[in-house]
C-alpha cells in the first residue's frame, strides 16, 4: 500500500492529515458545530412527501432504487433504455425516466410516483379507470406520472398538447385514444376544485 493512502481525510473538507490526532484537532477546531456530512453513497430524497436517507451504489439507477430497493412498484421496467416512458417518475416537478437516472445523482430531490398521486386523491386516477386507460396495465403508471406532470405545469392542456406530452410513452395494448379524454376530464375536475376554493 502506498504512503499516500495512509493519510487521514477530513470528512468535512477533505483536507489530508498525517495522523489521526492531527485530523481530530483540525475537525474540532475548524468544523465545530457543523452537521456531520453524509458518508459517500448516502443520499437523501423525498418520495411522495416522505423523507428517506438511503445508501446507494454508484451504478444503481433511480428505477432500481425506488422499485427494487424501496418497493414502489409503479415505475415499471419495459424497454430498459429510455425508449418507452413506463418508468417515468416526477422529479422536482419534471417527468424523468427513472431507468436513465443514476440514484446517486438524486440527492435532495423530490420524487413523485403513481402511488403518491393516487394517495393524494388526484382526479387523474379515477378518470383513468373510468375511461379504460389501462388494459394489461404495465405501462399505465408511466402515463399517470407523465400526465400529472403535464397538468402541474399546464392545468388546461389541449388535445394536441396532451398527445405531444405522451409522445414518449409506449402502450402495446394501444389504449392511446383514451388518455386525452381522461386527462381533459381530470383537468376539468381540478379546475372545479380550484374554482370552489
Amino acid at each position: 500500500m502506498k504512503e499516500e493512502t495512509m493519510k487521514y481525510l477530513c470528512p468535512y473538507c477533505a483536507t489530508k492529515f498525517e495522523t489521526f490526532e492531527a485530523l481530530k484537532e483540525h475537525a474540532l477546531g475548524a468544523h465545530q458545530g457543523e452537521a456531520v456530512p453524509l458518508p459517500e453513497g448516502m443520499i437523501r430524497l423525498t418520495v411522495n412527501g416522505q423523507e428517506y436517507q438511503i445508501q446507494v451504489q454508484p451504478e444503481w439507477t433511480l428505477n432500481y432504487l425506488i422499485h427494487d430497493k424501496m418497493g414502489f412498484t409503479s415505475p415499471k421496467m419495459f424497454c430498459d433504455r429510455g425508449a418507452c416512458g413506463s418508468c417515468t417518475v416526477i422529479m422536482n416537478g419534471r417527468p424523468v425516466l427513472s431507468c436513465m437516472s443514476l440514484a446517486i445523482e438524486c440527492d435532495g430531490k423530490q420524487i413523485e410516483t403513481a402511488e403518491g398521486i393516487a394517495d393524494a386523491g388526484h382526479p387523474l386516477i379515477e378518470s383513468y379507470v373510468k375511461h379504460h386507460c389501462m388494459q394489461c396495465g404495465y405501462c399505465t403508471p408511466g402515463f399517470v406520472t407523465t400526465a400529472k406532470a403535464l397538468l402541474d405545469r399546464n392545468p388546461n392542456p389541449t388535445e394536441e398538447e396532451i398527445v405531444e406530452a405522451l409522445g414518449g410513452n409506449l402502450c402495446r395494448c394501444g389504449t392511446y385514444p383514451q388518455h386525452p379524454k381522461a386527462i381533459r376530464e381530470a383537468a376539468g375536475k381540478l379546475s372545479e376544485k380550484e374554482g370552489g376554493k
Binding site: T73, S74, C79, R81, C84, V129, V144, L170, T175
Partner: protein, 812 residues
C-alpha cells in the same frame, strides 16, 4: 332439488355448443351497460398491481442463460470452472448435467418432448449450454462471460426463398434433417382449373411479410421457491392450467395438489411467449436450481431476448385470382411459404373458406425452417389469412375499377355457398338470421364517409401536397371457442358477497369485471357484491384466458355456475336451514317453492309479495365461533340464523371451432382506413380508421372498443414499421430494442371511430363472439390498398416503409 336439476340439465345441453343460446336472460342489468367501473382499474393506475417482474423473495437468486452468438452452432466443449469460482455464483446448470432428463415437457400449446438446456443453437441469441444462478443479475451476467465455449459453427440461412434452394444449408439439421421444408399442407375446395376457366379475367401477384414480433411490455420472467419438498411458482404465462400440468410432469411427477401456482398480472404477450415450445424451459431450470441451492430463483430475460420470437405470418405469398366482370370471384389460388411457423402453419386460405361463396379454392402452404427465432401465434395466427383475404379482394376491385364494398357483398357466404344458404344454416342452429355484413357496412360507410371519400387510385392530391388514400376491408369475427373451462362460486358468510373461483391470467381484457357482470345479472346480485380474485391457485381453471378463448367459453361456465348457485340459494330459503344436534332454524319462506322467489339487489324476495324479503347476507349467517351455536349458552350471546354453505361449480367444454361443421362464422367486421402519402419523403400518415365489429352481444361495450382502437394501433404499427432485421452476413439480430424496432406511439394513428353491431349470432352466451384478436390482425394488410388508392401503385411488401414507397415510385 328440482330447480338445481333443471339448471344442471340445461348446462349439459349447452356443452359443446354448436348453436344459438337457448336460454338467454330476458333482462340485463349490468350486461351490456356502459360506465361499469373496471375492477383492475385503481390497482393498475396507481402502480400497485403486482406483475411477476415485481416479485422479490428473501434470499432470491437471479438466473441468466448463456446465449449462442452464432445463428447455427453446436457446443463441442464447454468449461464453466472460471464462472463457478466467481464470488456470488451459487449454481451453474450445464447442458450435460446428469440430472437433466433427455427430453422433458416444457409446455407451449401442448405437451412437448425437448431438452431443457440444449447444446445446439438454431438462431443467434438462443439460450443454450448453461444457466447461472447468482446473488445478483450483474454477477450472473459476469459469470456467463467467464464460460469458455468451443463452438462448432455451421452455415445458416435466414429467409424462406434461400432455405428452399436445393443446396441451402440445413437450418435445423437435428430436427428437420432432409431439407429445410418441414411440412406441406393444402386446404380448399372445388376445382380451381374450372374456376379459372370460368373467369373473365385472371390476375397473379406476390406478397411478402417480413418478421415482426409481439413486444411484451413485461419481459419473460418467473420466480420459483421450494418449500423443502414442493415448488411454488410465480408465472408469466397465459394458461395457468397448462403451466401446472407441465410442472406436474417434472421431478418424478410432483402431485398436482402440492404445486402452488401464482399468476400475478401479466404485461400482455398477445400469444407470443406463452406459445413457444420452450416456454417453461426457464421455469424448469429455475426450479431445479432453487431446489439445489435452497434459495428462491428469479429469471428475467433481457429486452433483446424478448425479440427472439415472432409472428408466424413471416414469409412469401403467391396469389392467382379468377373473377367475372361483375365482381364474382370464381377461383382463388393462395399459397404461403412461412418461416419457422409453429403447428405446421396456418392459412392462407381459411378466410376464403369460412367467409365467401367463392366456388373453388386451392391454398397450399409450406413451413420452412430458417435460422431465426421461433414464430407463433402473435395476435394472431389468422394474420396470413387476413393478409391474403384483404389483398385478393382489394386487387379484384381495383382491376375492375369497382367499389370494393360491392365485391365483398357479391362474394359473402361460406364454404362456397351464398348468404341465402348460410341463412338456412343459421335457422337450423336456432339463430335469427341477420345480414351481419350489411349491418356492419351501413355503420362503417357512414362513419368513414365512404361514398364521398372513395376515389380512383392516385387521383386526390391534398392541399398539403400529400396524396390521399382510402381503403376498405372485411372478414368474419373469430374466436377460438374451444377447450374446457372450470369455475366455482362461493357465497361468503357474514356479508353474503360472492367470490368467483378460478385461476386465470390477466392480460388486460377486463374479463374479471365482465364475468362479475354475468354472475351479478344471473343471480340478481348487486355488481359490487360479486368479485373475482383471479390470481389465486384455487384450483379451478377457466379456459385459455385471454388467449384465443375467453368469454365464448368462460362466459358459459360463469353463467352455468351462477344459475346453479342461485337455484341452491332459493331452495335453501324455502327449506329448513342448517340442522344441528342443538336444533335448527325454520325456513324463512315457509310453504313456498323456490320458483315463488327471486333475487334482486342481493335480496331474496317473494315474487307475489316483494315486501317479504331476506338479504342474502342474512340467509348465509355469520361464520365460525360467532355462528349459530357459538358461545350463546355460555355468554348468552344471540343465536344467529344460519344456512348450509353455498358453493357451486360448473364447466363448459367445447370442441375447436376450426373446421366445418363446428360453429360456422356468421358475424362480420368491416374496417376503413384513410392515409396521406408524402411522395417526396415516402412518409405515410394514417389519418383515420373506422372499425365496425359485430360482437353478437357486448358484455362490456367499452372493453370491446378497447380491443378495436387498441388493435388498430397495433395493426398500424405492424403495417408501417414493425420489422425485426437480421444481418445477412453474421445472422445476428440487429434491432432487438425499442429504439430501433418501432411500435406505434400515440401520434402514429389519427382518430379511430369504433362501432359495435349486435346480431346475437355468436356461439357464446347471449350470442356473443370474441373480437380481441381480430382487429390487430385485420388492419395491417389494409395499408396496401390504401397506398394503392393514394399513389396508384401496389406495394405488397410489409411493413410499407418510406423507402418501399419511394422505390415503388421509382425515386430510389
Amino acid at each position: 332439488m328440482s330447480m338445481v336439476r333443471d339448471e344442471y340439465e340445461k348446462m349439459v345441453e349447452m356443452q359443446d355448443n354448436t348453436g344459438a343460446d337457448k336460454y338467454p336472460l330476458k333482462d340485463f342489468n349490468n350486461i351490456g351497460k356502459e360506465q361499469i367501473r373496471r375492477f383492475d382499474g385503481i390497482e393498475k393506475a396507481s402502480g400497485r398491481a403486482i406483475y411477476t417482474m415485481d416479485i422479490q423473495l428473501p434470499g432470491m437468486l437471479h438466473m441468466k442463460f448463456l446465449a449462442c452468438p452464432y445463428p447455427n452452432a453446436k457446443i463441442k466443449r464447454m468449461d464453466t470452472s472460471r464462472a463457478e469460482s466467481l464470488p456470488g455464483v451459487r449454481a451453474i446448470l450445464r447442458y450435460d448435467d446428469p440430472a437433466l432428463p433427455e427430453v422433458i415437457d416444457l409446455g407451449g400449446h401442448g405437451p412437448t418432448a425437448i431438452r431443457a438446456i440444449p447444446a445446439v443453437a438454431r438462431f443467434e441469441g438462443e439460450p443454450v449450454g448453461a444457466a447461472v444462478a447468482a446473488d445478483t443479475e450483474e454477477i450472473a451476467e459476469e459469470a456467463l462471460k467467464l464460460i469458455d465455449v468451443d463452438w462448432e459453427q455451421r452455415p445458416f440461412v435466414l429467409n424462406v426463398e434461400d432455405a428452399l434452394k436445393p443446396d441451402a444449408p440445413r437450418a435445423h439439421p437435428e430436427s428437420v434433417p432432409g431439407s429445410n421444408l418441414e411440412v406441406e399442407h393444402v386446404e380448399g375446395h372445388g376445382d380451381v382449373k374450372k374456376g379459372f376457366a370460368a373467369a373473365d379475367r385472371v390476375v397473379e401477384f406476390t406478397a411478402k411479410r417480413l418478421l415482426h414480433t409481439y413486444v411484451s411490455p413485461e419481459r419473460p420472467c418467473g420466480v420459483v421457491r421450494w418449500n423443502g419438498e414442493y415448488p411454488e411458482f410465480w408465472c408469466k404465462h397465459q394458461r395457468p392450467h397448462e403451466a401446472k400440468r407441465t410442472i406436474h410432469s417434472w421431478f418424478g411427477k410432483t402431485p398436482m395438489n402440492k404445486i402452488v401456482m401464482n399468476f400475478p398480472y401479466q404485461g400482455a404477450t398477445f400469444g407470443g411467449w406463452t406459445q413457444f415450445y420452450w416456454k417453461q424451459g426457464p421455469d424448469y431450470c429455475a426450479a431445479l436450481l432453487a431446489k439445489r441451492t435452497g434459495r428462491p430463483v428469479k429469471f428475467a430475460f433481457s429486452r433483446r431476448d424478448d425479440f427472439y420470437g415472432g409472428s408466424m405470418d413471416e414469409g412469401n405469398y403467391y396469389f392467382k385470382v379468377g373473377f367475372k366482370n361483375d365482381g364474382t370471384i370464381t377461383a382463388v389460388h393462395a399459397e404461403g411459404h412461412f418461416a419457422n411457423a409453429q403447428w405446421e402453419g396456418f392459412g392462407p386460405g381459411t378466410h376464403f373458406e369460412d367467409n365467401t361463396a367463392i366456388p373453388s379454392l386451392h391454398a397450399p402452404r409450406k413451413v420452412v425452417r430458417v435460422n431465426k427465432g421461433p414464430t407463433t401465434a402473435v395476435r394472431c395466427e389468422q394474420l396470413p389469412n387476413t393478409l391474403a383475404f384483404t389483398l385478393v379482394f382489394d386487387r379484384v376491385a381495383a382491376e375492375l375499377g369497382m367499389d370494393p364494398i360491392d365485391i365483398a357483398l357479391k362474394n359473402d357466404g361460406s364454404k362456397g355457398h351464398d348468404i341465402e344458404w348460410l341463412n338456412e344454416r343459421k335457422r337450423e342452429l336456432g339463430f335469427n338470421p341477420r345480414d351481419s355484413l350489411k349491418e356492419c357496412l351501413q355503420k362503417g360507410k357512414k362513419a368513414a364517409d365512404w361514398d364521398k371519400k372513395w376515389h380512383p387510385p392516385g387521383a386526390k392530391r391534398l392541399p398539403n401536397g400529400r396524396m390521399h388514400g382510402i381503403a376498405f376491408t372485411w372478414t368474419h369475427q373469430w374466436d377460438d371457442s374451444c377447450g374446457t373451462s372450470e369455475i366455482a362460486m362461493r357465497v361468503e358468510r357474514d356479508d353474503g358477497t360472492i367470490s368467483i373461483l378460478g385461476q386465470r391470467c390477466d392480460n388486460g381484457v377486463n374479463a374479471d369485471t365482465a364475468y362479475c357482470q354475468i354472475a351479478a345479472d344471473e343471480i340478481g346480485m348487486r355488481l359490487e357484491d360479486v368479485f373475482y380474485n383471479q390470481h389465486r391457485d384455487v384450483p379451478f381453471y377457466p379456459m385459455c384466458p385471454d388467449s384465443s378463448t375467453n368469454m365464448s367459453v368462460n362466459g358459459w361456465a360463469v353463467r352455468h355456475c351462477a344459475r346453479l348457485l342461485k337455484a341452491k340459494m332459493l331452495e335453501a330459503a324455502t327449506s329448513l336451514r342448517a340442522v344441528t344436534q342443538r336444533g335448527s332454524f325454520p325456513p324463512f319462506f315457509p310453504d313456498c317453492k323456490p320458483e315463488d322467489l327471486d333475487i334482486k339487489d342481493s335480496v331474496i324476495y317473494l315474487k307475489k309479495d316483494p315486501s317479504k324479503k331476506l338479504a342474502v347476507a342474512d340467509l348465509v349467517g355469520v361464520s365460525a365461533e360467532a355462528g349459530p351455536l357459538g358461545f350463546h349458552e355460555l355468554y348468552g350471546a344471540t343465536r344467529h340464523p344460519f344456512s348450509v354453505p353455498f358453493f357451486a361449480y360448473s364447466h363448459q367444454s367445447q370442441l375447436c371451432c376450426y373446421g366445418w361443421p363446428f360453429r360456422p362464422k356468421w358475424s362480420r367486421q368491416t374496417h376503413f382506413m384513410e392515409i396521406e402519402v408524402d411522395t417526396e419523403t415516402g412518409e405515410i400518415l394514417v389519418t383515420k380508421v373506422v372499425n365496425v365489429n359485430d360482437v353478437g352481444k357486448a358484455i362490456s361495450p367499452e372493453t370491446c372498443a378497447g380491443q378495436q382502437y387498441g388493435g388498430t394501433y397495433m395493426g398500424a404499427g405492424r403495417a408501417l414499421f414493425e420489422e425485426v432485421v437480421h444481418d445477412p452476413v453474421t445472422g445476428v439480430m440487429l434491432n432487438g430494442n425499442l429504439l430501433d424496432y418501432k411500435i406505434a406511439t400515440i401520434g402514429d394513428c389519427g382518430p379511430i371511430s369504433t362501432h359495435l353491431v349486435e346480431t346475437r349470432q355468436g356461439y357464446g352466451p347471449y350470442g356473443i363472439v370474441g373480437i380481441g384478436e381480430d382487429i390487430a390482425t385485420v388492419i395491417p394488410a389494409m395499408l396496401s390498398p390504401a397506398v394503392y388508392n393514394a399513389i396508384g401503385v401496389w406495394i405488397y411488401e410489409f411493413p410499407i416503409t418510406p423507402d418501399r414507397i419511394l422505390k415503388a415510385l421509382g425515386k430510389i
